[in-house]
């Protein structure tokens, strides 16, 4: 199947280095301490953060840092066929772990000892890149909750099909069997915190594909910063400042 046609357009009409349309909204869940909705094309994800709050399981309580917990679930109707087991299956557990460890690296947990921060991510529509959308949504939700962080964490995926590096794969491109690289990036510190790759990729191409994903992360970081700034302006305006 041709994923990049001779004119250089992908299945959905994008260019190889073009990302899908991004849309973010802060404060979607009124009851949560922080929440955000993040859309990357047709992938739609909602994240809610509760915390810092009292540790539920006292045996896990840590005296010098906060406990970070994360749960990733997919809605039954999020994928093409209805999902029977939206959480507790291996993929969801693995992604929960990945998101938790990625966010834990950048939250300043030592400032909130003996407490717990819960990050809940729910996928409402899945069209490839759910992992990345979840991390981006979690970053926005943590910022909305006012939890101190070292830096924003942004994430983007990239792949390599028809001898072309592609940015931000959708579901069709993801399931094509080619390599799928997901990168989690801290833009200010210029550090990679998450790097996952599936399928075979020639060593000389790896660098290119990874660099493309990092560029995608930087673009998302710019967008996220804009959204946060706009949100702060709105808050100031409402307080009459």
């Amino acid at each position: 199947m041709e994923f990049v046609n001779p004119e250089g357009l992908r299945l959905d009409g994008r260019r190889p280095m073009e990302m899908r349309q991004l849309r973010a909204e802060i404060g979607a869940v009124a009851r949560a301490d922080g929440s955000a909705v993040f859309e990357m094309g047709n992938t739609k994800v909602i994240a809610a953060v509760y915390g810092p709050r009292e540790v539920q399981n006292k045996s896990q309580q840590s005296n010098d840092q906060a406990l970070v917990r994360c749960e990733y679930t997919m809605a039954n109707f999020s994928t093409g066929d209805r999902k029977r087991k939206p959480k507790g299956d291996r993929r969801s557990t693995e992604i929960s772990l990945v998101i938790r460890q990625t966010m834990e690296a950048c939250i300043l947990t030592h400032l909130m000892p003996r407490s717990q921060i819960d990050i809940y991510v729910q996928v409402l529509q899945a069209d490839g890149g759910t992992r990345s959308a979840c991390i981006n949504a979690a970053t926005l939700a943590l910022a909305d909750a006012g939890i101190p962080m070292r830096d924003l964490v942004t994430s983007c995926s990239s792949g390599y099909l028809n001898s072309t590096p592609l940015l931000d794969l959708n579901y069709l491109e993801d399931s094509a069997g080619g390599p799928d690289v997901t990168v989690g990036f801290l833009p200010k510190l210029d550090r990679v915190t998450l790097l996952q790759m599936d399928a075979k990729l020639p060593v000389d191409i790896v660098e290119n594909v990874m660099q493309l994903a990092i560029e995608g992360c930087k673009a998302i970081a710019t967008y996220i910063r804009e959204v946060l700034l706009e949100n702060t302006k709105q808050l100031e305006y409402r307080r009459g400042l």
């Binding site: 869940v29 809610a48 509760y50 749960e71 093409g80 809940y120 899945a126």
Partner: protein
């Protein structure tokens, strides 16, 4: 610090927020005596309600309903199954209500909220018994194939009146539902109907070309009220629900019939007059909801 007066009323010395947290019942009673609630609503008025159809584009029918802050996302997915032997000409509906941990600080992962199971059962019973959906419309090939409609409702924000918002989103999703067109292939299996674009004669006719939208019978609408002494508070928030533990849910349909009445115990006992008052409030609310649903529907048809 001032002295306590004879009635032991500390309210003069305390900030409003602290008083609200420490003595919630007295805070509310002070408001109820003036026939108003802390968010400014009169006792019988529900919060602002909005319905948006087609929120999930990958589902066959979907809707997002918001009552105040309470947000429900309902989506319907259709699958083909073999009907049971007792009713070979009827399809089936499966309704599930989920409360993921994002909706409320009291929901923990691994332990589903009690409210989720209760609302799920209530919803299932109400929709199936209200006669809104005629299961015969979900049939495809008698005795061999019929539609199974999976309705999943996710609570994205739990701020009281969960059943009302869930029912509204379910009804809106069913009215938005477009049943996919299918045909039978050579092996007798149901497949998605694909059009042959270049004028070739179609080999297989669509089995259900005309029946894409469900005809809905009388639509049920509900109103939850909190009872406290002689006051009836329509559409309580989660704070009000937790303070006044008695809740009454009344479901009526558009032909002015009572579909269900639910009062699961609670400290406040209801006189007959309270019951009729609740029903009257529900009737009034039903008119509001009908208008909101019509607007949402006509707004969608314009596209």
């Amino acid at each position: 610090m001032g002295l306590l007066d004879s009635s032991g009323d500390l309210s003069a010395e305390m900030e409003v927020d602290a008083f609200r947290r420490l003595f919630p019942l007295r805070y509310y009673e002070r408001h109820l005596a003036e026939s108003i609630r802390p968010d400014g609503r009169p006792l019988g008025r529900a919060r602002d309600t909005t319905v948006a159809l087609g929120a999930v584009s990958s589902a066959d029918g979907s809707a997002l309903a918001k009552i105040g802050s309470t947000t429900m996302l309902a989506a319907i997915k259709m699958e083909v199954m073999t009907p049971s032997a007792e009713s070979p000409d009827e399809g089936c509906i499966a309704i599930e209500f989920h409360m993921p941990p994002i909706c409320s600080p009291i929901v923990r992962p691994g332990r589903p909220a009690e409210a989720a199971v209760v609302v799920s059962k209530q919803l299932s019973d109400t929709i199936l018994s209200s006669g809104m959906i005629d299961l015969k419309e979900l049939a495809l090939v008698s005795g061999k194939a019929a539609w199974m409609a999976y309705l999943d409702i996710y609570c994205l924000d739990a701020d009281g009146a969960l059943f009302d918002a869930a029912l509204l989103s379910a009804v809106a999703a069913f009215s938005h539902l477009q049943i996919p067109v299918v045909s039978v292939n050579d092996k007798g299996k149901i497949v998605a109907f694909t059009e042959e674009g270049d004028g070739r004669k179609l080999e297989k006719e669509a089995v259900n070309k005309e029946k894409i939208k469900l005809t809905l019978g009388s639509i049920p609408f509900s109103l939850t009220c909190a009872l406290h002494k002689k006051y009836i508070l329509a559409d309580p928030t989660s704070e009000e629900e937790s303070i006044m533990e008695t809740l009454v849910t009344v479901v009526m349909d558009s032909s002015d019939r009572l579909v269900s009445f639910y009062k699961p115990g609670g400290p406040a006992l209801a006189y007959t007059s309270l019951v009729t008052d609740c029903v009257a409030l529900t009737r009034h609310r039903m008119k509001e909801l009908e208008k909101i649903l019509d607007e949402a529907f006509s707004g969608m048809e314009v596209d």
